[in-house]
């Protein structure tokens, strides 16, 4: 367990008694990260403790303990959790029953006949089983038409047989999913009420309560995910809340939602399906904040850890949201930050395909045995080993955590791969260089996924590199994509926790309002948006966010008549006609798909509102505490096909305005930035390294 202030470990005597702390806690697979901002002293405290599988809350408490602050002085506490994600991936959710419309118990199993998860040319493909076993998917004689008319009411249905079956099977959670409930939720509500009476204490959720959108498979799937994960999640939240209270934390606990905003504990209890990205979105929120401070409003976030890399696109300081999502093989119709994740991280293993070509990942060496250079028994070369061979990681000095890396073991691992390639005499360093390029190409592919595939040119964006391995690779990925601006925030290894610490509250609302732009009355459109706004405003009021701390974003989903997929076009309340909306849509369509169909009318399919409860944006101070020369030493490192005497810098000693030109390696606790030749770096007032590629031929 280590405790650091800024970048330096502090001892017991440094414990302070300040009254105001903002705390963000991010629970990862290996470590629980906490970042705390001390409002009075204007400085950060951070700690990293091991995560405890099955007892995440303990990691949270340990992390708080490690900070050594007075718990009663915490004013805000936001938590990113992977409870729901882990429970799903390990299939450790509650035993869940389904109550559904007669004739449709197999909707969950059939879907729309897609595999949804690979399988081409795989004769042995096994489709993941639905989360509710077929024998506890029970049908009741209710029916609502597509117009919302009740053909068969719930009143009069005897639920005792259903309940008997559920009790016999020891069902712990129930999803009520009826056809067409997105138009009329009455039957679902009535069934929920009837079941609640008979099943005291069992968690029950309705599909319309979770998603109000057309498409039974996606809606039922989301409701089932929610029901399946709720009991565990509530247990966790209750335990955590009790423990925190017991330790004198009086600040409300908020949970990070997948949409990038925080939820109150009450909201989180009923909307677990909004927490699958609870951890990673913190990084995006953190990146948005540091980007804003560094005056960069259009960024691509690049969060590279040990096993995976998450990227997201942020346009004008707003991360993109995606509405039709999927987790594992299950559709999830909940607005989430549009992140793309690939299995390439610092620990990704390098191997040789049967056709004699090199491949990187998706298998990872993890923390144990870890990369070959960790000296913990791993023999497969990894991305970290490649960096070591190229002189980009130190071999003499201990890393934070006390690890000493072995050059010899890394070299041996690469020699083995060279032999498998039939190139036994290949230089391991050149091989490492090639491998790194392949990994970079994959990561660039992930960036294209969130940019080019969504109609954005990545060259218009600045990349923000963070996570344990992000600052090491962000420059290479930027070069691959033709991106010329990069920033590396302070505390790159703690950015997720920083994002949580600063998270606003956020709720998304949708109205399936439809019509063609040439026919819609602009006043009606405004009225519909206003109705959504009122709903959002009253919820924010209820959570203590007054009008001065409320922000609203309005978006229309639009397509040409005859198309199916929509583009999301922002709408403004001061528009008096639909023309600006049409122009914006035509322009986006042309840019995205190579043509605009201006003759054709366009239609709105849904209108959406995002309501944000703005948390005070404290002026953060990132001033370094150490003094001294940032230039630590020079070391031989491999860049562009040759060994270069490369300066090594200590970030803790850099002051605002400090500049240098690449190549250079910047070391700090929790991250190493590897700046190739051609890049110019300056330490911005906000504490971020602001970097620009200057092609000086």
């Amino acid at each position: 367990m280590s405790r650091t202030v800024g970048l330096s470990v502090v001892g017991e005597e440094d414990r302070v008694t300040v009254q105001n702390y903002l705390v963000g806690i991010d629970v990862g697979g290996t470590f629980t990260d906490v970042l705390c901002y001390d409002l009075a002293e204007e400085r950060f405290l951070s700690a990293k403790v091991p995560s405890l599988p099955g007892e995440q809350w303990r990691g949270v408490l340990d992390a708080l303990e490690a900070l050594g602050i007075k718990h009663g002085a915490i004013v805000a506490f936001v938590h990113g959790t992977t409870i729901a994600t882990n429970a799903l991936l390990e299939r450790k959710g509650a035993k869940t029953g389904l109550v559904t419309t007669e004739g449709f118990r197999d909707v969950l199993e059939i879907g729309k006949c897609r595999r949804l998860i690979g399988g081409l040319f795989n004769i042995k493909f096994v489709r993941p089983a639905p989360l509710v076993s077929r024998d506890i998917r029970l049908e009741v004689p209710e029916r609502i038409t597509a117009d919302g008319e009740i053909l068969r009411p719930v009143a009069g249905i005897d639920f005792s047989e259903v309940v008997e079956k559920f009790n016999a099977e020891e069902v712990e959670a129930v999803a009520v999913c009826f056809l067409n409930s997105y138009v009329n939720e009455e039957n679902e509500r009535a069934a929920e009420a009837a079941l609640s009476k008979l099943m005291n204490g069992t968690h029950i959720c309705t599909s319309s309560g979770v998603v109000r959108e057309r498409g039974e498979f996606e809606r039922f799937s989301t409701a089932v995910l929610n029901a399946y994960l709720t009991p565990n999640f509530i247990d966790y939240l209750d335990t955590l809340a009790n423990e925190l209270e017991g330790r004198g934390v009086s600040a409300p606990v908020n949970i990070m939602g997948s949409n990038g905003g925080a939820m109150t504990l009450e909201k989180a209890r009923e909307f677990v399906a909004n927490t699958f990205l609870s951890g990673p979105v913190g990084g995006v929120s953190g990146a948005v904040r540091v980007s804003e401070l560094a005056d960069q409003h259009n960024v691509i976030t690049f969060d590279m850890g040990g096993t995976s890399t998450d990227v997201a696109l942020v346009s004008d300081l707003s991360p993109r949201i995606s509405h039709a999502n999927q987790i594992d093989a299950y559709p999830l119709q909940v607005p989430q930050l549009d992140m793309h994740s690939i299995g390439a991280g610092g620990g990704s293993i390098i191997w040789v395909r049967p056709d004699g070509t090199l491949e990187v990942g998706p298998q990872s060496a993890g923390a144990v045995p870890g990369p070959a250079c960790y000296q913990r028994g791993g023999t497969d070369p990894t991305i970290s080993d490649a960096n070591l061979l190229m002189g980009r990681l130190p071999t003499e000095r201990k890393l934070s955590g006390g690890l000493v890396l072995s050059y010899e073991l890394a070299k041996k691992a690469f020699e083995d791969v060279a032999e498998k390639l039939g190139a036994a005499d290949a230089d391991p360093v050149r091989l490492a260089d090639s491998v790194l390029r392949i990994a970079v190409a994959k990561m660039a592919g992930a960036v294209r996924e969130v940019s080019v595939h969504r109609g954005y040119d990545p060259r218009d964006f600045t990349m923000v590199g963070f996570g344990g391995a992000g600052p090491m690779h962000v420059f290479l990925v930027a070069e691959e994509l033709g991106i010329t601006n990069v920033i590396v925030p302070r505390f790159p290894g703690h950015l997720s926790a920083l994002g949580q610490l600063l998270a606003d509250q956020r709720r998304d609302y949708a109205d399936p309002f439809k019509g063609r732009l040439r026919e819609i009355d602009p006043n009606e459109l405004r009225d519909r948006f206003e109705a959504l706004r009122k709903t959002g405003a009253s919820e924010l009021d209820g959570n203590g966010f007054g009008p001065d701390r409320q922000e609203f974003e309005y978006v229309c989903d639009i397509r040409y008549v005859g198309q199916s997929f929509t583009l999301r076009i922002p709408w403004r309340p001061d528009w008096t006609s639909n023309e600006p909306l049409r122009d914006a849509f035509n322009e986006r369509h042309e840019r995205t798909f190579g043509y605009a169909d201006e003759e054709n009318d366009a239609e709105i399919t849904t209108i959406r509102l995002t309501a944000t409860g703005v948390v005070d944006k404290t002026e953060l101070s990132f001033e370094p505490e150490s003094t001294g020369d940032p230039l630590l030493e020079k070391r031989r490192a491999w860049f562009n096909g040759e060994w270069i005497d490369c300066p090594i810098y200590d970030r803790a000693c850099m002051r605002s305005g400090y500049e240098f030109a690449g190549p250079g390696i910047v070391e700090e606790a929790g991250g190493t930035s590897i700046v190739p030749p051609g890049w110019h770096v300056r330490l911005h007032d906000s504490g971020a390294l602001v970097c620009e590629y200057r092609d000086e031929g």
């Binding site: 729309k112 090199l358 080019v452």
Partner: protein
């Protein structure tokens, strides 16, 4: 390639172009067949028409045939191909699939030299012809199936041929939607060109083209290595299309696969002459089946390109259903492909036993439910193509109602809430078809049962599919899956909407009628009496099969609580095993056929015990070897326990005279 890793980089970069093309098509298309159905594919090809890169989202049925079309375009225009040209093609006789699948090619140049093509094959929802949607079981010549486009330059050096384009789309239904299809393809091709140009600039044309050759060579090397590991020899298969829609006589497909060193020769000689109805394909489709199934059996993981198919030589006699000539209609392309898939899987199942897999639903299951809206002008067309159960394989049961391993991953039914809000139809049930699986040690997947009620005064039903009377086969001793069944329920009565099942054209529907889909179950793998009884009990508990099926097909006896009664089960299994019917094979000089059907002349006592009358379909197999189907002709001239079969039948069974075969009837419907 002297730079390590450059090859991998270029390969990833080319695949990324295809990914981007796919995203572009899906998001900009105007047709539900594309945005819901994803019935299109993209690829990059070399200047001489070899296929370099596709993504794992692309569909073999479109893509594997693209090189054929591309080569025809190159042969047609030779040196007269320029920057800014765009070509169209859909002619089945020169590499197309069916007329709805339109291919657009954008040539990409570097330094004035043609280097690559960007290709998009895209299903247009209508291309003209005799019926809406252009696919009709009633077509007798290709002119009834829409506009046939032989290699055509639609755009010359950037100058669009507006006259031709207008003529083309004005001869199709919904011309505005067709222009939308055209624009989506053209926009995508232009974006792909830009992207490839960036790669050329970055890697240099020479490096890029050298890498392309290397990528192809590597895939070819892997495939050759895998073929070399197989035992040399000839492997045989035979299968049927039950009808061409004109006559109820089945059509036969025959395949002899020769494995010789690192090459494979696939010979389709003996396959039926081209049909009067639409169950025909042009010359490129044999490679589609061979390519996709071979890839799945031998090398599922190497990135997909033309190199994998170089070791395969195909003999497909002209004028047969697998290489039809003008003017044979080709709208039933998917049905013929399904037959060829079965044949290829059957021969490869003998050469690569560990990959042996039960048969699939067969055919596209095109179902068009149409009618007039009750309350407004205009007609509606609901087009669905429901999946069935997939085949079982050693170690794994088949999957229920889902795309199969040789198909891209696209939707095949619409959301119920979309159907109900857009059409005057109510979906009354959409569920698994209980008991439709092919029974086996590993059982096939279950098909779909879906009921749609018509809520408007009149409508019509059209269906184009196969395997309604000749169901999907099981392998390694397993039973067949239930056959496809598409009927109309009128009150209490079940109405067959056509004299030939599965080939329905405009059957008139009345208000209140129910259109019922029952899609086929997948074929099983292995002897059902060897299935783990606990798995059978679980299948009963989950309602996948009934207790009755567990008893009479699996020999598993359950107690009142649904648990396995072990003692009763082993007795029951012995009883069932003892009751199986066997015949000893004797050699006849020649095989016996009636038209294209194989005839089994068998003792009447055995036929009777098998429950088969004269003219019924039965199947025979030796041990875990391939099964052969034929129609019964009663003949007691060989005594009560022997049957004479010809040399081809011995090849098919991989048996010799004196061997014993098991005989059993083919069950089309699931047991109650």
């Amino acid at each position: 390639m002297d730079q390590l890793g450059l090859l991998e980089l270029i390969r990833e970069a080319l695949i990324a172009v295809v990914h981007e093309m796919r995203a572009n098509v899906i998001h900009s298309s105007y047709s539900s067949v594309i945005y819901e159905g994803h019935d299109f594919s993209c690829a990059l090809l070399t200047a001489d028409g070899r296929h370099v890169a596709q993504s794992d989202g692309d569909t073999p049925i479109h893509i594997i045939a693209v090189p054929y079309s591309t080569r025809v375009v190159i042969e047609t225009f030779e040196d007269d191909i320029h920057e800014g040209d765009v070509f169209l093609h859909n002619d089945p006789y020169t590499g197309g699939t069916h007329l709805n699948d339109i291919l657009m090619l954008h040539p990409v140049f570097s330094g004035g030299k043609l280097v690559l093509f960007a290709a998009i094959r895209y299903h247009w929802a209508d291309v003209g012809g005799m019926t809406a949607g252009s696919l009709s079981g009633q077509a007798r010549e290709i002119y009834q199936e829409g506009m046939r486009i032989t290699p055509t330059r639609i755009c010359e050096k950037g100058e669009m041929n507006e006259t031709f384009l207008r003529l083309l789309v004005e001869n199709m239904r919904l011309p505005a939607e067709r222009m939308g299809d055209f624009n989506a393809m053209h926009g995508t091709g232009r974006k792909a060109e830009e992207h490839v140009q960036r790669l050329l600039g970055r890697f240099g044309a020479d490096n890029l083209l050298e890498a392309v050759e290397e990528i192809l060579q590597r895939s070819e090397d892997v495939m050759r290595r895998r073929i070399r590991e197989l035992e040399d020899g000839d492997y045989y298969a035979e299968g049927y299309i039950e009808s061409d829609g004109v006559s109820s006589a089945p059509l036969v497909g025959r395949l002899k696969l020769t494995i010789e060193g690192e090459e494979m020769i696939a010979d389709f000689s003996g396959t039926s002459a081209q049909a009067a109805g639409p169950t025909n394909v042009g010359p490129s489709m044999t490679l589609t089946s061979l390519g996709a199934i071979t890839k799945a059996f031998l090398d599922p993981h190497t990135p997909i390109n033309h190199g994998s198919f170089e070791p395969i030589t195909i003999i497909a006699p002209e004028g047969t259903i697998v290489n039809a000539r003008h003017p044979a209609p080709c709208g039933g392309m998917v049905e013929v492909k399904a037959l060829m898939d079965t044949l290829v899987a059957t021969v490869l199942g003998q050469a690569v036993p560990e990959m042996k897999v039960g048969d699939l639903k067969g055919g596209a299951n095109h179902i068009y439910t149409t009618g007039r809206y009750p309350d407004r002008d205009g007609i509606f067309i609901l087009y669905e193509w429901p999946s069935g159960g997939t085949g079982a394989s050693d170690g794994v049961d088949g999957n229920n109602c889902v795309r199969q391993y040789n198909e891209g991953d696209f939707n095949s039914i619409h959301a119920i809430e979309v159907v109900e809000s857009q059409y005057p139809l109510r979906v009354e049930r959409s569920e698994l078809r209980v008991g439709s699986c092919g029974d086996g040690k590993f059982r096939g997947g279950l098909g779909l049962r879906r009921d749609l009620r018509l809520l408007t005064p009149s409508g019509a039903l059209s269906v184009l599919t196969d395997k309604c009377t000749i169901p999907p086969i099981g392998v390694h001793g397993a039973a067949n899956g239930a056959a496809n069944n598409f009927v109309v329920v009128r009150g209490d009565e079940i109405v067959q909407p056509s004299p030939i099942p599965g080939k329905v054209s405009g059957f008139p529907l009345r208000e209140g009628d129910i259109v019922r889909y029952e899609s086929a179950g997948g074929g099983g793998y292995g002897d059902p009496l060897e299935r783990d009884p606990r798995q059978v009990a679980r299948d009963v508990r989950l309602g996948y099969i009934t207790a009755h099926i567990a008893d009479i097909r699996y020999g598993v006896v359950l107690d009142g609580g649904g648990a396995v009664d072990d003692a009763a089960t082993s007795r029951r299994r012995k009883e069932l095993r003892d009751a199986r019917l066997h015949l000893t094979l004797e050699a006849a000089n020649e095989d016996h056929y009636a038209e294209d059907r194989r005839i089994f002349q068998m003792p009447s006592a055995i036929a009777k015990r098998a429950g088969a009358a004269e003219g019924d379909l039965v199947e025979i197999f030796a041990g875990t070897g391939p099964l052969v189907r034929g129609w019964v002709e009663l003949d007691d001239s060989n005594g009560e326990s022997a049957m004479r079969i010809g040399p081809d039948a011995f090849h098919l069974l991989a048996a010799v005279p004196g061997d014993s075969v098991e005989i059993r009837p083919v069950c089309r419907e699931p047991l109650a």
